[in-house]
């Protein structure tokens, strides 16, 4: 908790906000208010309607019913420009920055100063430096955004809102991309903002953070406000129950691992990213049968390139990848799959699914050419449909028919389609990247159980996740990926959040080296 509520004067309020999308009510008569100088947490699991509500408050979408009041007066926002004019600023979960622009260009965009007819970036630079100093948000106005780390980009987003004189800041899942250390630092920034008279709506689904930062808590479930809580009295368990609507088991029951021989062996692997720079360098790892190796790390430290190289989708610069002794370096993907690698990709819409195709076709996406799904290049419709019906039942995929297009499913069901496809057949090595991103608690539990089941059947599982909680819940061993190399490897039993967090932040778990590394 940062401090007790500010002056108590309500600066921003919504009354009876309702927003419908085809088939769902995203917000159902929501009441919410923000007092001057407080941090008001909006808690809810993915899909509860938090972002929808805040997009309405920020003018990005318009409610079907209800009112928005700023300083007690009703306002109607037709675009985010209107909201900005009323002193509202928002830092989105997915940063709304333009990578090829400089920091200054990103910040002034939409609020440009002029010198005659030309763009005045000089004055803007001075103001940005001033704001940076005032709030402790170190940014370089002339750096290109694509060269910045995630933490730096977040600071740019904050300065962008402050540059527009925002008094009421909406922070949408601001800690999702930060290391535990950076989260603490970020809470410091939030504290300093509140001290300087800002009021903050803090959206999150992480219980620990809520208790650390909130003055007040409002919980959303399925588009409705289901309760409010006082951070002094609430416990993680009580908040979780409120958020999900039932008792939640925060950990997963799993037997201790009994690992066998190494199935996936990676030696001296170096991989280039799309821009041609070395993003994974000289990486070595082993995953044994019957264990889950969790790879923690801040996104952008080479996870994507590593996973793609292991799956054969990206040719490594050097090194080898073997599964059960067979050299599979550099793919092609089909060869890797045929040797027993299953891959749940990070981006389900880009790689995992073909949206317009049916569930049945998506379930044979990488087996379509094999018996029984094809004979002499002719597709066997019946076999494809039978498998679909069977897998939809086994993996609890909720859809009207096997021929429903995958793009009409909810995120949780889409991910279950992918999981069902990848976990079927003989799997020697399971490669899972961000398997539960953006999913509801029910789907998360389901998927976690399946992954543990695979481990128990003797599959070697490599889990790459930005969610430290997920890494700690599932892994038998934990390694940290930092700037393309593994910088630490622990048994789960000896790993602590602090040590892992430190390694994620600076590549070393000795705090004395921290300054040098940064």
């Amino acid at each position: 908790m940062i401090q007790t509520g500010g002056s108590g004067e309500v600066v921003l309020a919504v009354r009876n906000i309702t927003k419908r999308y085809p088939g769902i009510v995203a917000n159902d008569q929501i009441d919410f208010d923000l007092k001057h100088g407080e941090v008001h947490c909006l808690l809810g699991e993915n899909g509860a309607g938090k972002s929808t509500l805040m997009n309405i408050v920020y003018g990005l979408s318009q409610p079907d019913a209800g009112q928005i009041l700023v300083n007690g007066e009703e306002v109607h926002f037709r675009s985010s420009g209107d909201a900005i004019a009323h002193g509202i600023g928002m830092v989105h979960q997915h940063f709304q920055l333009i990578p090829v622009f400089t920091v200054a260009e990103n910040i002034v965009l939409g609020n440009e100063g002029r010198k005659g007819v030309t763009l005045d970036l000089e004055t803007a630079r001075d103001r940005i430096r001033g704001l940076a100093a005032q709030y402790g948000l170190d940014v370089d106005p002339d750096a290109k955004v694509e060269d910045l780390s995630v933490g730096e980009q977040q600071r740019v987003e904050l300065v962008k809102a402050l540059y527009r004189n925002a008094d009421n800041l909406i922070l949408d899942e601001p800690t999702a991309v930060l290391t535990p250390g950076e989260v603490d630092e970020f809470f410091g920034v939030v504290r300093s903002l509140v001290h300087q008279g800002k009021s903050i709506v803090f959206i999150t689904h992480k219980l620990r953070e809520v208790l650390a930062v909130a003055d007040r808590i409002t919980v959303l479930r399925l588009g409705r406000v289901v309760g409010t809580a006082d951070p002094e009295e609430a416990t993680p368990q009580s908040l979780a129950t409120l958020m999900v609507g039932r008792e939640v088991i925060l950990s997963i029951d799993k037997a201790p691992a009994s690992p066998g021989a190494a199935r996936l062996e990676v030696r001296d692997l170096s991989v280039l990213d799309d821009r041609g720079s070395v993003t994974v360098s000289g990486l070595n790892l082993d995953v044994r049968a019957g264990e889950i190796l969790g790879i923690a790390g801040v996104e952008g430290n080479g996870q994507r390139e590593l996973v793609e190289a292991l799956a054969g989708m990206r040719k490594p610069l050097a090194g080898t990848v073997t599964i059960d002794g067979v050299d599979l370096t550099g793919g092609p993907p089909r060869r890797v799959t045929e040797h027993g690698l299953a891959h749940v990709p990070e981006d389900r819409n880009k790689h995992g699914l073909v949206g317009p195709f049916s569930i049945a076709d998506n379930l044979v996406l990488n087996t379509y050419y094999r018996a029984p799904f094809a004979r002499r290049m002719i597709r066997q419709q019946r076999a494809i449909e039978e498998q679909a019906t069977e897998l939809m039942r086994r993996f609890d995929i909720r859809a009207p028919r096997p021929d429903a297009p995958a793009q009409t499913l909810s995120g949780g069901n889409q991910q279950k389609v992918i999981i069902a496809r990848e976990l079927t057949g003989e799997v020697k090595v399971l490669l899972v990247a961000q398997p539960t991103r953006g999913l509801d608690v029910g789907s998360i539990e389901f998927i976690h159980h399946r992954i543990v089941e695979m481990r128990d059947e003797g599959t070697a599982v490599l889990l790459v996740s930005a969610e430290l909680d997920e890494i700690f819940t599932l892994s038998d061993r934990i390694a940290v990926l930092y700037r393309g190399a593994l910088v630490g490897e622990f048994d789960r039993s000896v790993a602590t959040r602090d040590r892992v967090g430190l390694l994620m932040a600076c590549g070393s778990d000795d705090p004395s080296t921290m300054n040098e590394a940064v």
């Binding site: 675009s79 420009g81 965009l109 007819v117 962008k160 360098s281």
Partner: protein, 432 residues
Amino acid sequence: MTAAAIPARRSMARIGRLQILGLIYGFFGVLLLAYVAPNLEPADKGFTFEQPPDPARFAFDPRSIVVAIAIFFVATAVVSLLGDRFERITRICLLTATIILAPLFLVLALALSESGDTNVVSLAVESLRLGTPIALGAMCGLWCERSGVVNIGIEGMMLAAAGVGFTVYAVLGDAQGGGWLWFAILVAVLTGGLIAALHALVTVTFRVDQIISGVVINLLALGLTSFLRSQVIVPRGISTGEATSVIDVPIFSEIPVIGSQLFANKPIFFMMFAIVVATWFVLYRTPWGLRVRSCGENPHAAETVGIDVIKIRYQAVILGGLIAGLGGAWFSMESQGGFQDNMTNGAGFIALAALIFGRWRPFPAFAGAMLFGFTRALGTRFQILGVEVGDFSIPSEFWQSLPYVVTIIVVAGAVGRAIPPAADGQPYERSK
């Protein structure tokens, strides 16, 4: 530990794109040295710089020029194979080699023809002149694509402008010059803008696939202008009319050698230069330009800071259309006075290639347009020179195909590395 190993790995000479290009030049150089140069006869040829009589002249023996260039090509190949440390020099050599191709072809053409001299300044000015509609088309494409709307309808926009403009000129002014000519050019410009507004309506508002919309526009322009010609222009018996006349820019046209050739030219030609500079200025130096670029890179980010993406895209696409309209006017009212069916003849598509060649930037796109202007001018020049290899007179079709072949080479060679605006081609849907 591995950090030290990486640079070592990277400096290993690998056969990449640069090396392949270098080897192609090397092979070409060897070919010139071994086969072409020995077969050339000693001759006195020359480049002239002014119109006759008594022009300044640079005299040479084609053989020595060919040998010198061939040696440079071979040297380029050697440099390219020296490894990563020489990458910068390799790039400079390759660029120079590419630029040298132009004089090389010219020297070879002269060597293989009966003529002794050719005027290189007039060739350069001719390149600029023929590059005018391509540059204007490229600027049209640049505005559209920088705002996130792919435009393969540049061709149709120019054709419609050329046809409608000339029809108005013929109906109102009997195609006899004077004020109606200027009015007709204005109409052409507005026609381009109108067609672009249709493209914006279909792609931005209705979110139809932008490539399909472009095809529709090309088809519509072809039908509309053929209809106007057969229904309006032909019945009036007007086949040719008066085109814009040459303007002598005071003082500048007095500059020796180039003045009389470059600064005595027609109005749209001059306007083209102004538009290229203005495009650069507005795009990179004004708030509106920043907003246009933001819409082409990340429209949702633009939306979150209150920018009306739809409005900006309409503005940019229509501005592009107006520029393409001027390019259309060049065909029917500056290059010649008259309109024939499909008279733009692919210039819009070549403009698109110039835009890609220039990586969506104004000055490089202009340079690309001039490259195509140059290949066209070169083709015409070669035809005039009557180039013969042995007894075989190279057919005019070969020269005419040059710009198309160059386009394919450019697109295949450049696109791999050219990155379009990130949101180019993707329909934008407002948050609801």
